[in-house]
């Protein structure tokens, strides 16, 4: 069962979108130097489809995108939630911030509009750093994913 600790409206994480970031706990990655160690334990509220319904009621069209921050302990669970949003609320984009270097085969990438992969490695820095190991992909119109990491470096 996926659980989330809190949410926030963010702008920098997903370019050009107004995003509801859902911070998922029980993160298995445990990157040294992690900024969100509060997400390591199995804590928080259940992240179910009814929780997603509640977010939609609360934020409506004020947001344009849902982003799952973490959830690598249960990638299939994240996939199901992404699929649910696209089916029920096609107006929203769906993004996933994963700490893994590859997305599991069992996950249908087509259910996401943005996918970020890669653990946080302190000396290489976060997405913003031009030396980062992390990558942000955006789904293009033909269904393939393009690397848009550079957008985080531009100022």
């Amino acid at each position: 069962m996926l659980k989330y600790v809190n949410t926030d409206i963010v702008f920098q994480e997903i370019p050009d979108e107004v995003t509801l970031a859902i911070n998922i706990s029980n993160c298995p990655c445990h990157c040294p130097g992690c900024h969100s160690q509060y997400l390591w334990g199995d804590v928080g509220l259940p992240l179910t489809i009814s929780a997603l319904d509640d977010f939609v009621t609360k934020y409506g069209d004020d947001i344009t995108c849902f982003s799952f921050m973490g959830g690598d302990a249960d990638p299939k669970g994240v996939n199901q939630l992404a699929q649910y949003i696209h089916e029920e609320y096609p107006q929203f984009k769906v993004a996933w911030y994963s700490g893994k270097t590859v997305i599991a085969r069992t996950v249908n990438k087509a259910d996401f509009d943005y996918i970020k992969i890669g653990p946080y490695i302190e000396h290489l820095g976060p997405l913003k750093s031009p030396t980062t190991n992390q990558r942000m992909y955006r789904k293009t119109d033909d269904g393939t994913f393009e690397d848009i990491t550079e957008r985080f470096w531009r100022k």
């Binding site: 702008f11 920098q12 370019p15």
Partner: protein
């Protein structure tokens, strides 16, 4: 009189041992000064009348000595004693001024050094700002006297006393008491276009070409501003400029902007000539000004989308019978914004404060798509300006915070567009945190108590208005006589401060919730009820949440000293708590949305503080959110970084200079409406700026 071991209270509040010798000595000297003989018997007689008690003040003893001298028939001596006291009072005042002078010189900046009216709009402290500072206390005394005399005439002595009592106990605060002039105005420039500046005491005739427009405009704004204590808005600036450019190169000049326009060796293009005039006007108006205590003039301008423009200027005719040309103006507005944004990476330019006026449709989208998109584009390029969004052209701002409902969009051949002439004559602010706590502590329903305070404020404002009318009758207000400002379209403003703090005292959570909303509406609705009740065909009232640049700090300090609940060192100027990082950006739009600001007829500009710039698409979405929530007046505030070492200016909020890598950096931010260096704010305001939560978007 029996001699005991008394203590007396000296003028500075300290205690001292009572000394009979000192009094005897003073009396003997008074006799000596008029060559009257005084022996011990005479002096004892005078001393016998004195009623000395413990902790008696020096003033009190001297008063008794005066009376006693007169009772014994020593009138000449008494007179001498009174004169002697007066001389010493004057000496003490001079001493105080000298002490202030030396403290001012030692202070870190002009705003911290200012005793009465700290203002970050003063860049430097020097002899000119000091000269402006010194007479402030006299102005406060004079203004209070003028006002209380008028209140006495209109409503009786009791109300005048009540006013002073409320003022000195900080239940209310009179803004801009250090100036004689009325507050801020959005002016129509039509009288200038017809008659030049003669009617307001200048010597220039009406502008006839682009060159005389640019030069004359600057002079006119300086003259107008020296007769106002606050801001001067010229909402027609670019429209008039477009008119004169059109006269120079034809109405379609903007299609040929890269054509050569002069025969000099520089071969300047039309575009270059235009931007050179921008430069001349903007740089000149950002200079410190002699007539305004070395402050720059508070210059404001407006941009319009097509529909807003048509609502306000649809019936407008220039004196030559032609109508304003929207296509040219649309180009010129964009050109000015782009130029100004770029110029701000070279120099710290505060003025003009700009407001973008946009009309929205029923779905909350910008009616004029092109201008909605351009607004988002300018924000994404890091430009800092205000946006006013509304379903109809109902308001203009006359300064960086005050919106003014406009009551008449008609056109007159002598005064121009009716809508642009508006503003606020005077602001009187209610310290809600103190008022509400006082009422609750004294077991009174707070709204009932507030009603009395609000009623008093309206009467005081009416008295102010009478004084203003008297000034006008004596020809002291040429801006009104010449038609730049229409006195009956100017508001008397009731300000509020400490609203959030009062709500916290009542145990309310400062989030979008029904209890807080009910609290806000109860108070603001009450003020509006009185605003309507006191409105006549000559006087209008509005209510604004004042930016409280220094009042917010003062109120917090005074209230804390008097034992009230004070949760922070500077009262908020928003409906949310600035340092609260649990509120999302959407929450903040909600807290400045229609239900909250409904009764705030004088406006409150939401300053959305962000740590980083957003993209055009994201700003477009937020404009929609603002329109949907009914948040009509807002700006996005991302601190700009200024390097103290190499002078580099960066639109981003950085911890180190990207050019020279120095960590000795300063920021430009809008704490209170206009963009200024943080180090120019008073000490207390700088602390607030540091605590402020910049959403890590």
């Amino acid at each position: 009189m029996e001699i005991k071991n008394f203590t007396i209270t000296k003028r500075d509040g300290t205690k001292d041992q009572f000394s009979l010798d000192k009094i005897m000595n003073a009396i003997a000297k008074a006799f000596e000064s008029v060559q009257e003989p005084a022996d011990l018997g005479v002096i004892s007689k005078i001393l016998a009348h004195l009623d000395i008690h413990n902790d008696i003040t020096v003033e009190d003893i001297q008063n008794q000595v005066e009376e006693s001298l007169m009772r014994e028939g020593f009138y000449k001596v008494a007179k001498s004693f009174i004169l002697y006291r007066q001389e010493h009072t004057e000496d003490r005042e001079t001493l105080q001024k000298m002490q202030f002078l030396s403290e001012y010189m030692e202070s870190v900046n002009a705003a911290t050094g200012s005793k009465y009216d700290a203002n970050a709009n003063v860049e430097h402290k020097n002899i000119a700002t000091l000269i402006g500072e010194l007479p402030k206390s006299n102005f406060i005394r004079l203004n209070r006297r003028l006002l209380t005399d008028r209140i006495k005439k209109m409503y009786g002595k009791q109300l005048a006393d009540e006013y002073i009592d409320m003022l000195t106990h900080h239940f209310i605060y009179k803004n801009d008491e250090t100036s004689l002039a009325n507050y801020c105005a959005s002016i129509t420039m039509y009288p200038w276009l017809i008659n030049g500046t003669m009617e307001i005491g200048g010597n220039s005739t009406a502008p006839t070409n682009l060159k005389s427009f640019a030069g004359g405009f600057v002079n006119m704004v300086f003259m107008v501003s020296s007769m106002l204590s606050g801001a001067c808005a010229t909402p027609e600036f670019l429209m008039y400029m477009n008119y004169f450019i059109g006269k120079e190169w034809g109405l379609d000049y903007w299609k040929r902007a890269d054509e050569q326009a002069d025969l000099s060796l520089k071969k300047r293009t039309i575009d270059k000539v235009i931007t050179d005039y921008f430069e001349q006007i903007v740089y000149t108006l950002n200079q410190p000004t002699g007539a305004r205590n070395y402050q720059a003039v508070f210059w404001n301008i407006a941009y319009y989308d097509k529909y807003y423009f048509e609502s306000i200027f649809g019936d407008f005719y220039f004196p030559d019978g032609s109508k304003p040309d929207w296509d040219g103006l649309s180009w010129l507005q964009k050109r000015f914004m782009k130029w100004f944004n770029n110029e701000r990476t070279k120099t710290l330019l505060t003025f003009p404060v700009e407001t973008m006026a946009l009309l929205t449709d029923e779905d909350g989208n910008c009616k004029d798509k092109e201008w909605g998109e351009f607004t988002a584009e300018m924000y994404s390029e890091g430009h800092s300006f205000f946006t006013y969004m509304s379903a109809n052209a109902d308001s203009l701002s006359s300064c960086c915070r005050l919106r003014n409902e406009i009551t008449d969009n008609g056109f007159s051949y002598t005064l121009g567009a009716g809508g642009v002439s508006t503003g606020s004559k005077s602001v009187l602010t209610i310290n809600l945190n103190r008022c509400i706590q006082y009422a609750v502590n004294h077991k009174m329903p707070y709204l009932q108590y507030l009603a009395d305070v609000i009623d008093l404020c309206h009467k005081v404002q009416l008295a102010y208005n009478e004084n203003l009318k008297e000034l006008q009758q004596h020809g002291m207000l040429p801006l009104f006589d010449a038609g730049y400002i229409n006195i009956s379209r100017q508001y008397l403003t009731i300000g509020i401060n400490g609203l959030v703090e009062a709500a916290e005292f009542m145990g309310l959570k400062i989030t979008p919730n029904d209890d807080y909303l009910h609290f806000v509406q109860g108070i603001l609705g009450l003020i509006e009820k009185y605003n309507k009740q006191y409105r006549t065909k000559d006087v209008m009232f509005n209510c604004e949440m004042i930016p409280a640049e220094n009042v917010g700090v003062k109120h917090a300090k005074w209230d804390r000293e008097d034992g009230y609940f004070v949760p922070r060192d500077c009262y908020n100027s928003y409906f949310y708590v600035v340092e609260d990082d649990s509120l999302t950006i959407l929450d903040k739009f909600k807290l400045h949305g229609a239900p909250y600001i409904e009764h705030l007829t004088g406006g409150s500009a939401l300053h959305m503080n962000l740590e980083e710039h957003l993209s055009k698409e994201q700003y477009q979405k937020l404009l929609q959110v603002a329109a949907k929530e009914g948040c009509n007046y807002f700006t996005f505030n991302i601190p700009n970084t200024v390097c103290n070492e190499c002078g580099h200016i960066d639109k981003r909020y950085l911890k180190e200079c990207p050019v020279c890598k120095s960590k000795n950096i300063d920021y430009m931010t809008r704490i209170i409406g206009y963009l200024k260096r943080v180090s120019n704010f008073s000490q207390a305001r700088q602390e607030e700026a540091a605590r402020r939560f910049y959403a890590t978007a």
